[in-house]
């Protein structure tokens, strides 16, 4: 079909740290080079920050480079990290505090800040707009615009006003638009749905290890001022997870008597009965955690998958006409559990490469080899190289031995131990059959520290227009009941942190796989973990999804 179109020099998909840093850098460099440069950012959330969810302890290295005067510009970095406490939780009650000297260096946070990444993105968006970037929240990039030569020429935004059968709604149908660009940057975050297609189409992962993921579930709490210690960072490993089903937790003391608390569960977990959501709920009852939360009030809830494969899993980041940046590529540093500064840096490097390319008269549509080169020469590459073994070691050797390896690698070799560990088994292939896995009896939520899924989703302010095509597509609609249910007791019921997937027993006794797409918090876990790789996460109508404040 013939669509309306607009032309820009650069189109960026996603207003997260990578996309917004790229946008700012493009404009800064264009001014330096005396070039006119049009930059457009589309964002599927209803506003910038609405879909941003991160811990977050933030390392300001990339921000220092992007806006050296960020303090004067009022960047929301208000809470410097004061202390790092790390605990190994041995059971639901016991814990050992890890002495400082035994902690891998990458887990030290002097000079870093506890922030809301959503608020940092809101601020970055203001800076970008001040620099002349056009940002359009509420518009989802539905697909890449790829020409007959296989060159990415921009994106197509999603149609609005389409009913659940895919038919245009009377008086409401608003067709999507082509946003054409010389170069298109994809900054959708972890498991971006276009990024996934591009990686497949251009075989960008041909020389990379399988990507690895975690699901991070996070809550924001307002706690008793007497229990609050602004600047305190707490990390835990161990209970309620284990080597077969690994992960770790965080609890950060922000300003205003608020803390964020979260659990990251490795999506390589093997027990299909495991429910990351319920693990997180029970984890909050551990004395180490409840000492802070007791008497407090939960304010917000959300979840998001993270890419943690690091350098070994990093795909080729360029293709004709564009590049993947940030977590869409997978630049998170798992040894530090930080991806914001790395995402920002990758966006800035791509932006610099684009301005450079346009300055020498390139007309777009080609590969940004100079981005790859600049990446390899940057501190970002060095950092990721040093951390390349961290996740694989934990996965291969478990928390204790893997932790020891990481201590030796990070503290004695500075990450340059002369061997590289590979972990090539994709997360979706890690589940064991339900029959061979112990059932897990999760405690009932108490309504004070722990809660059920639906009241949690309630706090994510999630909504989708009700009458629209289901954005969670099954390649084969029979697989959930015919295969996943008998084999794995359909794990989607449990790995989804928003209660989107249910097995409903009907009056006749027949079972039905129900998808409550309206609840979806856009974490992408289903797309990653479904053992049959049968679920495709598509963008719903723009503005749909969570509306996170301060996350």
């Amino acid at each position: 079909m013939q669509r309306e179109y607009m032309e820009f020099d650069v189109v960026i998909v996603g207003a997260g740290p990578a996309g917004l840093s790229a946008a700012c850098r493009l404009k800064q460099k264009a001014v330096e080079a005396g070039q006119e440069l049009s930059v457009c950012v589309v964002e599927k959330g209803s506003e910038v920050g609405a879909h941003i969810l991160s811990g977050a302890v933030f390392e300001p290295r990339a921000l220092n480079e992007l806006f050296p005067d960020w303090q004067a510009l009022g960047a929301p970095l208000n809470t410097p990290v004061k202390r790092d406490d790390i605990y190994l939780l041995k059971s639901d009650a016991a814990a050992t505090k890890i002495p400082d000297f035994a902690v891998p260096k990458t887990m030290h946070n002097e000079g870093n800040y506890i922030i809301s990444l959503g608020n940092l993105c809101r601020w970055l968006a203001q800076q970008a707009e001040n620099l002349g970037v056009e940002i359009y929240p509420g518009f989802a990039a539905q697909q890449a615009l790829i020409d007959e030569q296989g060159v990415v020429r921009g994106i197509v935004t999603g149609d609005l006003g389409v009913d659940h059968e895919g038919k245009p709604k009377d008086g409401l149908y608003t067709p999507g638009m082509e946003l054409r660009a010389k170069y298109t940057l994809f900054a959708e975050g972890c498991r971006g749905h276009i990024g996934k297609q591009l990686i497949k189409q251009y075989r960008l992962d041909a020389n990379a290890d399988a990507q690895h993921y975690g699901i991070g579930i996070k809550e924001l709490w307002e706690i008793d001022p007497a229990r609050h210690e602004q600047g305190l960072v707490v990390h835990t490993a161990g209970w309620p997870l284990n080597d077969e089903n690994p992960g770790g937790s965080f609890l950060y003391h922000l300003e205003n008597n608020q803390v964020v608390v979260g659990l990251i569960v490795d999506l390589s977990y093997s027990n299909p009965h495991l429910s990351p959501f319920d693990e997180f709920q029970r984890y909050k009852h551990h004395p180490v955690i409840r000492q802070y939360l007791e008497g407090g009030k939960r304010i917000s809830y959300g979840a998001r998958a993270i890419c943690k494969g690091g350098l070994n899993s990093l795909p080729k980041m360029v293709f004709p006409g564009g590049a993947l940046i940030g977590c869409d590529a997978g630049t998170l540093n798992f040894a530090k559990i930080k991806g914001s500064h790395t995402a920002m840096k990758s966006g800035m490097l791509a932006a610099e490469a684009i301005v450079e390319a346009l300055a020498v008269g390139r007309e777009g549509g080609d590969e940004l080899h100079n981005y790859v080169k600049a990446f390899e020469d940057s501190w970002l590459y060095d950092e990721l190289y040093r951390s390349r073994n961290f996740g694989a070691a934990m996965h291969k050797f478990g928390a204790i031995l893997g932790g020891a390896f990481n201590f030796v690698d990070q503290n004695l070799f500075g990450g340059k131990i002369p061997l590289t560990l590979h972990d090539n088994k994709p997360d979706h292939a890690c589940l064991k059959p339900a029959a061979q896995s112990p059932k897990i009896d999760y405690p009932k939520p108490d309504g004070k520290l722990s809660f059920d899924k639906l009241s949690s989703v309630f706090l994510s302010n999630t909504n989708h227009e009700e009458d629209q095509p289901c954005h969670l597509q099954l390649i084969d609609p029979n697989i959930p009941l015919a295969r996943n249910l008998p084999l794995y007791d359909e794990p989607a019921q449990r790995y989804c942190p928003a209660g989107v997937y249910e097995i409903v027993t009907q009056e006749s006794g027949e079972k039905k796989f129900q998808i409550n797409a309206q609840n979806c918090v856009h974490c992408k876990t289903c797309d990653i973990k479904d053992p049959a790789q049968n679920i495709t996460w598509m963008t719903p109508e723009g503005t749909g999804g969570p509306t996170y404040p301060n996350m």
């Binding site: 639906l454 009241s455 309630f458 909504n463 009700e466 409903v504 009907q506 129900q514 409550n516 309206q518």
Partner: protein, 311 residues
């Protein structure tokens, strides 16, 4: 000083919401006068005179007030209010909400909308943000103009008083508006958000056909039928029946939740109901934590029995 309550009526009968409004006036303290403005509304005035606690009934019987058009009614109330009333109260019905702000503006005061509690003669509580917060507000106005949410106040007795009836008000047709017609859905089911009784079904209904059980009860009670999102998502009923966070917000006198677990998304749409009844076979269902009356039972037995007992 006295308090003026504007009666809600249809020229034939006094509407029950007036009794809740008189109750709010009684809590403020002072003589309660009731204004019956209408056309051919003598019976209403007589009914108002019998309401417990009413000291005086003012009747403005004139064709200009037949449909209580705000353009005509507001000047009448303003004139009365200026002559010695400390408060003017009206029920927060669509009618009261229509004319009373017009009165407030003409008196150069803010209206205090939909109070649910009287703290003192000048301080009131009212829900804001769709009931997600309760504001305590204080008015410095010479005449306090207030609409009253009926679920916040138990009605006074309709009988027992013997107030004097006094005619007031000259004809006052502002000449800018006129009544064209009215379609009252008398025989049909009331609109969900306006219904005094709502009966809703959840996923426990099993399918759309079983909603017929609820319609049978609704017919007996003059109730509207609603549904939880789970029932809508399961395809039992269309989305316009949905009560809850992403559906309609209702606050009826009686809300009957049938086969609804009571997720917070649903509670957000009905928690301000005056009386909540839950019928569910799962005694652990969260709906019982908010229900005034809970019945742990198989709905397929209990609901037909309820229909039968309602005669």
């Amino acid at each position: 000083m006295a308090i003026l309550v504007i009666a809600e009526h249809n020229n034939a009968a006094l509407a029950a919401a007036t009794l809740n409004t008189v109750a709010a006036a009684a809590q403020i303290g002072g003589d309660v006068h009731v204004l019956v403005a209408g056309s051919g509304c003598a019976a209403v005035a007589e009914a108002a005179a019998k309401v417990a606690g009413v000291a005086k009934v003012l009747v403005a019987d004139n064709a200009a007030f037949a449909h209580q058009l705000p353009e005509n009614l507001a000047p009448l109330i303003v004139e009365l209010a200026r002559n010695g009333y400390s408060h003017v109260l009206a029920p927060a019905t669509t009618n009261g909400k229509n004319y009373l702000p017009r009165v407030a503006a003409l008196l150069d005061v803010e209206q205090i909308s939909e109070i649910v509690k009287v703290v003192s003669a000048d301080t009131f509580q009212r829900p804001i943000y769709a009931g997600n917060a309760i504001a305590t507000v204080q008015s410095s106005a010479a005449v306090k103009v207030i609409t009253v949410r009926s679920t916040g106040f138990d009605p006074v007795a309709a009988e027992g008083g013997s107030a004097a009836i006094e005619a007031v008000g000259a004809a006052c047709d502002a000449g800018v508006s006129s009544f064209v017609g009215e379609e009252l859905a008398k025989s049909e089911r009331p609109e969900l958000t306006a219904a005094k009784v709502v009966i809703s079904g959840g996923r426990g209904m099993q399918n759309g056909d079983n909603f017929a059980l609820l319609y049978a009860v609704a017919d007996k009670l003059g109730a509207a039928v609603g549904a939880s999102r789970a029932a809508v998502d399961a395809g039992f009923v269309p989305n316009d029946l949905q009560v809850g966070q992403t559906g309609k917000i209702v606050a009826p006198q009686l809300y009957i939740a049938v086969g609804i677990s009571g997720a917070i998304q649903h509670l957000a749409g009905m928690k301000d109901s005056k009386v909540i009844v839950a019928i569910n076979k799962d005694e652990e269902a969260p709906i019982f934590q908010v229900a005034d009356y809970g019945l742990v039972a198989d709905l397929f037995e209990a609901v037909p029995e309820l229909t039968a007992q309602l005669g």
